[in-house]
């Protein structure tokens, strides 16, 4: 009998197309997702070298980072550079014959929401994209990670990636979550514990009862932020929920293929006794609703806590915290629930799915956002938007005073016109609170969709458990 393997070991082994003596491998790639920002230089490289796309059928493009999210975007895009970048993707998709969802297509949206939604992402696959949040697809038991533009070109040309195997890391969340605690609180709490470099060089497998109890949307939220903990990929073994989610999607296997696929997926779990290089265990009941207070995703505390002081830390973190607090305009000792905010952003590949919108709408039903608050909901895809409209969620958002936008990355990275002005403070369901991330001088607090909605109503960071 062979040695027990982790699910990562199994997926890795199934995709090694070539291994050199020094362990450098060519890893075969099943799905290559492409967006407008990290691909133009790669396609240009192919053109210059006269190389075709090796597997256009496994390559899927959708514009998301740069697209405006206002309804009038269909009349043309004002920013010239953005327009050129989108036109380049239009042309590249056409010239190289890859699957494409242009801005005008209702299926357009954030690449990491579109992939699973259309059934491109399936268990056991290798999925790459020139975007660090590709880790999202790991929720299906796929090995999914972000790559740079040179690697995008490499995958386009060869359908492989030059890789050495990463280490195995297990993150187990035992027991169940308490009321008001969500997938976002899990993933932020893990980063709070391990730090943003804790997963460097590792692939994380998330497991445990609390992970099993999450919906597929919740699992995507957890895996999405594996990269914020330094891990290139995070994954969760597939189960009944995974199969149920995938079944019937446009690009999921059908008929006899479906049965073969399901049988194969049933082998994708970590064997009893498999070894991990690193293990982190957190009790589900110990996780509280959390928010970030600083400019690194590891700067996480329960909403009941106070802003820390640089002296609470050691080493290089002391200066980093001093800088963070100055940037964030926060004083140590301030209760986090007293921090006033002026902007709320609900969306992104972390929390832009239907379940996230339902959670936020449940909080907002029959309520109004605070006077002067700027609040926007940016659905993760055109289909999420349509479903939310059908379920009456859009109406709740609009009546509460939220802007109801078209799909895109929007204010998560603020490449399009959705930005914070200097000093503005935003409660955001996205994934990064870096300096300038949402706009130069803008201040970001990461939290769950329900907490973001509550903050829009009260005007300050709010413990969802106290909100009524």
């Amino acid at each position: 009998m062979s040695a027990p393997k982790t699910i990562y070991d199994k997926i890795w082994n199934a995709h090694v197309a070539h291994e050199s003596d020094d362990g450098t491998c060519l890893l075969y790639i099943d799905r290559h997702l492409v967006h407008e920002v990290t691909s133009p230089q790669a396609f240009e490289g192919l053109r210059t070298a006269g190389r075709p796309v090796h597997a256009p059928d496994k390559t899927i493009a959708v514009p998301d980072h740069n697209v405006p999210t206002t309804v009038d975007r269909l009349n043309g895009i004002a920013n010239e550079q953005s327009r050129i970048q989108l036109e380049a993707l239009d042309k590249n998709a056409l010239d190289f014959g890859i699957h494409y969802y242009p801005v005008t297509d209702i299926r357009q949206g954030i690449v990491h929401i579109v992939g699973p939604e259309q059934g491109w992402t399936l268990p056991g696959m290798t999925v790459v994209c020139g975007d660090s949040h590709t880790a999202t697809h790991g929720a299906f038991g796929a090995l999914a990670h972000g790559i740079g533009t040179s690697e995008v070109e490499h995958v386009l040309a060869t359908q492989t990636l030059i890789q050495k195997k990463s280490k195995n890391m297990k993150v187990e969340i035992t027991g169940s979550l308490r009321p008001g605690v969500t997938a976002k609180d899990i993933t932020l709490s893990v980063i709070g514990k391990t730090g943003t470099a804790g997963g460097n060089g590792h692939v994380i497998e998330y497991c445990g009862q609390a992970i099993r109890e999450l919906s597929m949307e919740g699992r995507m939220t957890v895996c999405n932020m594996a990269i914020e903990g330094g891990a290139r990929a995070g994954l969760i073994a597939p189960d009944e929920k995974t199969i149920e989610y995938v079944k019937g999607r446009p690009h999921a296997p059908k008929d006899a293929d479906w049965d073969t696929a399901v049988a194969y997926w049933a082998t994708l779990f970590t064997d009893e006794g498999a070894q991990y290089d690193k293990v982190v265990t957190i009790k589900g009941e110990d996780i509280a609703p959390v928010v970030t207070w600083g400019t690194s995703p590891e700067d996480v505390l329960p909403i009941t806590a106070t802003v820390p002081s640089p002296e609470d830390f050691s080493g290089g973190k002391v200066d980093a915290v001093r800088r963070s607090l100055a940037y964030m305009g926060l004083t140590p000792g301030t209760k986090l629930s007293d921090v006033a905010i002026d902007t709320v952003f609900i969306g992104s590949c972390t929390n832009g799915r239907i379940e996230d919108l339902r959670a936020a709408a449940a909080v907002l039903k029959g309520k109004k956002i605070k006077d002067g608050m700027r609040a926007m909901v940016v659905p993760g895809s055109g289909l999420v938007r349509a479903q939310a409209e059908e379920e009456g969620l859009a109406e709740i958002f609009v009546e509460a005073g939220f802007e109801w936008r078209m799909a895109g990355c929007s204010m998560c990275l603020a490449m399009n016109p959705d930005q914070l002005a200097p000093g503005e403070r935003c409660a955001a369901t996205s994934n990064r609170n870096f300096e300038g991330r949402q706009g130069r001088g803008g201040r970001t607090h990461l939290l769950s969709p329900a907490m973001a909605a509550a903050a829009a109503v009260t005007g300050h960071l709010t413990d969802i458990r106290d909100f009524s």
Partner: protein, 201 residues
Amino acid sequence: MEQFENVSGVAAPMPLINIDTDMIIPKQFLKTIKRSGLGVNLFDEMRYDEDGKEIADFVLNKPAYRDAEIIVAGDNFGCGSSREHAPWALRDFGIKVIVSTSYADIFYNNSFKNGILPVILAKEQVDVLMEDAERGENARITVDLENQTISATDGTEFKFEVDAFKKHCLMNGLDDIGLTLQKKSAIDTFEQSYTKRLPWV
């Protein structure tokens, strides 16, 4: 890619930990469809004020460091997004070597593909080089990739590890894709048997 030559030059000290890719090259510069010309926007929001004027006390604006070829940085340099614009901007500015205790994985890989050597050293060793770097033009750090050594101004030499394949590509300025396509038959063979086994993929 041009071949990596040994470097002996001024190093800029950036002791801040977790220097992220949004700091290295803010998103407004990702709208380009080219790889070149990003050096002027390297560390843009730390380097220029809102009116576009240089912020005098930012390290790369100080006279001693304007031609720095090395950055000595705090832990976990390059965390955040996968944007290759980060190494493009660093290289375009003239940075050839970064020294830190650790890097984010994607940034680390991206660097090698753009002629930048990210050196990993122990904390005490980074501290020595950081002190050197803080002495500005009076200190030169020397990096020898072939022998995998980095030398402080006083001649103290530190050995560093680097993946043999990455080193080979960097030293010879090799194009990954060309190398991989030499193994095209292995890829094709794999693809055929894989597709037979999992036709729905």
